[in-house]
Subunit: 317 residues, 2 copies
């Protein structure tokens, strides 16, 4: 049984997981969907009530019957490397590749349809509430009046991007920014704003969830620091234990969201409360593993290799 | 409780359903996501473990607590009508709109995540098999050798597009085409091919499923006609009753695919067997309703208006 990794060629994090899979003796096939068709060949046959399929990359063949799991890491656009790429060729190739993979019985980390939903920030906050996390009051609005009222009610408020950096300029930094109720909110009418009550924090927390395994890391914040992603505080990421009620809430969240992998960001306030900021279903873990020594890539490799209990030979259950 | 229809401005089929909703006395709000922000205003507030949200279009306000159902008909791209549209503004607006709608408790026809999966042709064939339909043997492949072998095995074979007309030229016709085993299959290496055993048919069948209601229509085919979508045969669509085993298979299919609405296309062969060709989760029904008089738009309106049994006042269950 083989693990399929969908990612682009240069991906150091994938390299770490591939090394861990090799240590476990688990066969692995790496495919960049951009290389299909071309370097990769696909065939899926639907006949006589049955389905067979295979994928071959550089002479290595993976049959859909032998597919254990799919890790959706950083896949390129299907057919992006074709000699004559086009939106239509991409659409046809996406149909063939994902249609075949969805037809197979496999574990996904994470399934694209769950990943897509999990990216929606407002939905994240709703699920975080339902899961029992402390969530700072937040509003998404295109109404300047409601934005101002929110800022007046909560005094210190931050403004963020919901979708991340602009797709047309992916390198652009959009740091979370502190604003006051006297700010000019008129631009909110032209594009939805995400406003959130500011949480004065003494540390950033990154909690990585792999199946049922949790790895939390903590980095002390500088007093008054708003966005820990930009600017080095000089403090390292250090392993930290996970409070019991956080572990319960994480479990609730990943079940509600059907996620096998999730990276949670929290702000730890002066009282030690962990405030939910976001959950990134595709969040990086390389930097945490390097600084803390937490074996996240090994956990990912084990999850991908694992045979679900009901499929194991009887003696090994 | 209000029905929200996501569609573009010119949409005759939506007009038919809106008229049926008016007859039922069901409040309805129509939104083109392209008009947000601008004509439409949105606000979603996540505070104190709770969620409130509203959407207003031309002064009509819909609160998320009063949302009964969402009909995803033909929504425009979020923010497409903005004075300064950009991929980033679209991404932010999509986050705000769909993140808020996903946070609400509503019935969807169809939920975008189910719609997205249901569009994948290879997955459709797998689900059709599992549901008990007769499915013509089909292969999706980028291997010229396997394409030729398939054509040699099945003799009369048709080639189709999996994804439909090219997105860059949406008006282009890509009719299903009959080919022989002596065709040149070398181009398959440059783009995946969908090859299917040809079903000589005496009629086309369109079966529209709305919740648990089925409407089937039949159109006699010309002998030798391959693709009924292009060229008028002179035969009208006429209502036809649904065979029992087809009704069971349709029910299986829409449950496996989580679809509230689905339009199935079948080829009826000389023996009267209905062969599954495809299931379009967003398929048109206006032409069937006009030719057959089957009340599809009323059924859609009733499904959207319906209060699920467990939410009805006790006396009305």
């Amino acid at each position: 049984m083989t693990v399929l990794i969908l990612t682009s060629e240069e991906d150091v994090t994938a390299d770490m997981v591939v090394a861990a899979l090799h240590s476990l003796g688990t066969p692995v096939l790496r495919l960049n969907p951009a290389d299909l068709p071309g370097k990769a060949v696909l065939s899926a046959d639907y006949a006589h009530g049955d389905f067979t399929g295979h994928l071959s990359v550089n002479g290595h063949v993976l049959s859909m019957g032998g597919l254990r799991s799919v890790w959706v890491r950083r896949p390129g656009e299907p057919a992006a490397h074709a000699p004559e790429p086009s939106p239509w060729l991409t659409a046809e190739t996406r149909q063939a590749l994902y249609g075949m993979l969805y037809s197979a019985t496999a574990r996904w980390m994470n399934h694209p349809r769950d990943a897509e939903r999990a990216r929606l920030k407002p939905w994240q906050l709703r699920v975080a509430h339902l899961s029992g996390f402390a969530v700072p009051p937040t509003v998404f609005t295109t109404s300047p009046r409601l934005a101002r009222e929110f800022a007046e009610e909560h005094k210190d408020v931050v403004v963020k991007s919901a979708s991340g950096p602009p797709p047309e300029e992916p390198g652009t930094a959009l740091p979370t920014t502190l604003i006051g109720a006297d700010a000019d909110f008129s631009a909110v009418a032209a594009g939805p704003a995400l406003l959130q009550r500011y949480v004065p924090k003494r540390a950033d927390i990154r909690l990585t969830c792999v199946g049922t395994q949790l790895f939390a890391a903590r980095k002390t914040a500088e007093p008054g620091q708003v966005d820990g992603r930009y600017g080095d505080t000089g403090h390292p990421w250090q392993p930290v234990s996970v409070p019991g009620r956080i572990a319960v809430a994480v479990r609730e969240y990943v079940v509600l969201a059907s996620l096998a992998y999730a990276a949670f960001d929290f702000a730890e306030d002066e009282d030690g409360v962990w405030w939910f900021l976001e959950c990134n279903q595709g969040g990086q873990f390389g930097f945490v593993e390097l600084e803390t020594g937490q074996p996240v890539s090994e956990a990912v490799a084990r999850w991908l290799s694992q045979v679900p209990a009901h499929l194991r030979p009887a003696g090994r259950r």
